[in-house]
Amino acid sequence: MLRIKNLHAYYGRIRALENVSLHVGPGEIVSLIGANGAGKTTLLNAVSGLIARKEGEIYCEGTRIDHLPPEKIVAAGISQVPEGRQIFAPMTVMENLELGAYLRFKKNEKSAVKGDLSRIFELFPRLEERSGQIAGTLSGGEQQMLAIGRALMARPKLLLLDEPSMGLAPLVVRDIMDTICRLREEGMTVLIVEQNAHASLNVSERGYVLEIGRIILQGSSEDLLNDGDVKRAYLGKDYKTFLEGRNGQ
């Protein structure tokens, strides 16, 4: 589905990604975990075409997309749910969702869009209840649901989720992760970027660990959850003793 080879990305003169290769198979949920500033969001933005200065190859279903503008990448079937939701706060829930299908309205797919709306309301009944409500007044969890719903309106083949659990209460995080599992059952392919490594590895099949712009580890989610380095660095287990262990060698 998605295949990245030797991706480098830059912000000005700063290299944010260094030779990153990664793939997401069809129907797979893959996690990209790493600390703040590791380059996780940069990677998603590079895939979505939001970063101009990049080198390397990005393929979506075998077609090279790294030179395409963002709207063409959305049209190719990749939708990103940005970090911090970034919904259109002054607009209603319904208007937000309709905007997600913007490209398809132009293509006269109005009736299909109507059908998708009901599917999204099925996935997030809360959004239907609040369809007329101003989006900015929703709770954090509801806003995240709206952001995912809006991305789904473009009928993507691949969903890029940027920190879906950020700032949410643990119970709400579980709700969001359950939704991601349901999307998988429907055959959706998902790449999740998360600092909450535990939540994200629990719903994904595989994962990659990004550290200062480089991938330092990959494997099945089960293996990563049991990996010593991952536990210490990302699952919040005895980080201090880890450092002492290292220095003591």
């Binding site: 295949r3 080879k5 030797n6 260094e18 030779n19 990153v20 290769s21 990664l22 793939h23 990659y208 550290e211 480089r214 991938i215 330092i216 580890l217 990959q218 494997g219 293996d223 049991n226 990996d227 010593g228 380095d229 880890f242 262990g245 290292r246 060698q249």
Partner: protein, 432 residues
């Protein structure tokens, strides 16, 4: 019936190459970050591990040798803190110093998958009874194979020290269906069966897996014919890797390399340049999934060739030929790697600082590898007390066994005998 996971062998070459690229890049990043030896080696060669853009780029990286492993004895080649290591596997090494291979929990799981894949390729299933007959020098492999067979769900009889006739008795009485051993021990067992009059028809044996040395084709024919079994050979390095990292499929046209865990290259031993397919050279190995003990372009000392073309079995994994020899002084005796230098050091414990004159004779006795050390009789060694000389020799034999896990014979010879052999000190007369 449950078999081991063989799925990766059947992915497309394209997917496999993407996977290898990803694994190679992260392995290099980890090794550079966590192992001072690799960081220094890369820096010395002005190589940025972040600039490796393809598996082909690997050939720009420097080699790692057994000496490097020994120089970093015991733990300096480890890429994870010791507390993540759950198994420590000492290896006699092949130089002055031994070396130590460590495994994380994940590494042991990967090794189990690799050995299970080897055993599955020869159709081992959860209904099999597996008997492992290896010598003590291959104890690490014995454990790896036991874990792989158990992973498949087979009933496993782990390696135990018993006489060959006892092993055969167990094979018959326990209805062993799968035998794992070295090629020469398999031949030896066949010989003993003939001697004690054990009729192969009374055995339930169905398959033999061999590790630790090449299988001559006439041996394969004899074993398969006399015992009505299918023989599947595996390749590995007894001192650093699991057995069966290269494995035969049903076609038996070379060893498929588990390329989702390793990259194999064949290079010219002198120039270090890659060899063309079908041309013989040294096998060079890079680990892709190893966490504790990453090896980057490790020179194995084994000589083989890449087999070109795709295998009719459909696996994407490329193949190497049977091992046809070794590049350096390192010998393979009964599957165990031995450097004559190691023998010299043991002999020195008797003679003090002086270098003893000796040679090594290798021959086969009932198909088993025998190593004989011919040591020059000097005045230091010579004593009127036969008992003392005998004790000295016994001590030397014990030292060799403790270091290498190998039984040897030591013969005291006259200077003229060594002169006749016309070999350098520690020279090898290989009559196998």
């Amino acid at each position: 019936m449950k078999t081991g996971n063989d799925s990766q062998g059947h992915t497309s070459r394209d997917d496999l190459e993407q996977l290898q690229l990803e694994q190679l890049q992260s392995t290099l990043n980890r090794a550079y970050k966590n192992v001072p030896f690799y960081k220094k080696r890369f820096d010395d060669h002005e190589i940025d591990p972040g600039a490796v853009n393809s598996v082909e780029d690997l050939k720009r990286l420097p080699f790692t040798t057994r000496k490097d492993l020994a120089d970093n004895y015991p733990y300096d080649m480890f890429a994870v803190p010791l507390r993540d290591i759950v198994r420590i596997s000492p290896s006699a090494g092949t130089t002055a110093k031994p070396f130590v291979v460590g495994f994380t929990r994940g590494d042991l799981k990967a090794r189990q998958d690799i050995t299970a894949r080897f055993l599955s390729a020869g159709k081992t299933t959860d209904t099999d009874i597996v008997q492992i007959c290896l010598n003590p020098g291959l104890a690490g492999w014995g454990r790896a194979l036991k874990e792989g067979a158990e992973h498949i769900g087979a009933s496993v009889m782990p390696m135990t020290q018993m006489s060959t006739s006892k092993q055969l008795m167990a094979m018959k009485d326990y209805r062993t269906s799968v035998l794992i051993t070295t090629p020469s021990y398999a031949m030896h067992m066949l010989r003993v069966m003939e001697t004690i009059g054990l009729n192969p028809d009374t055995l339930a044996l169905r398959a033999i897996f061999t590790v630790g040395g090449p299988v001559p084709s006439d041996w394969r024919d004899r074993l398969e014919g006399a015992l009505a079994v299918s023989l599947t050979a595996g390749y590995g390095l007894s001192d650093v890797t699991a057995p069966g990292i290269g494995f035969e499929c049903g076609e038996k046209t070379g060893f498929h390399v588990s390329e989702d865990h390793f990259i194999f290259e064949i290079v010219d031993p002198q120039s270090g340049q890659p060899c063309l397919p079908e041309a013989e050279g040294e096998v060079v190995l890079t680990t892709l999934t190893g966490r504790a003990f990453p090896l980057i372009r490790f020179r194995t000392g084994d000589v083989a060739a890449l087999v070109s073309g795709t295998c009719p079995c459909g696996r994407a994994f490329s193949r190497i030929s049977e091992i046809t020899g070794s590049t350096g002084p390192v010998l393979t005796v009964a599957g165990i790697k031995v450097d004559p230098v190691q023998i010299e050091q043991i002999l020195q414990t008797l003679s003090g600082t002086a270098s003893p004159r000796f040679m090594i004779r290798l021959y086969k006795e009932d198909y088993l590898d025998v190593m004989e050390i011919w040591l020059e009789m000097t005045e230091d060694l010579f004593s009127d007390e036969v008992k003392r000389v005998e004790n000295d020799l016994k001590r030397l034999r014990r030292r060799v066994f403790q270091t290498l896990g190998l039984e040897v014979a030591i013969r005291l010879v006259e200077r003229s005998t060594l002169d006749e052999a016309d070999l350098p000190v520690g020279g090898v007369k290989d009559e196998r």
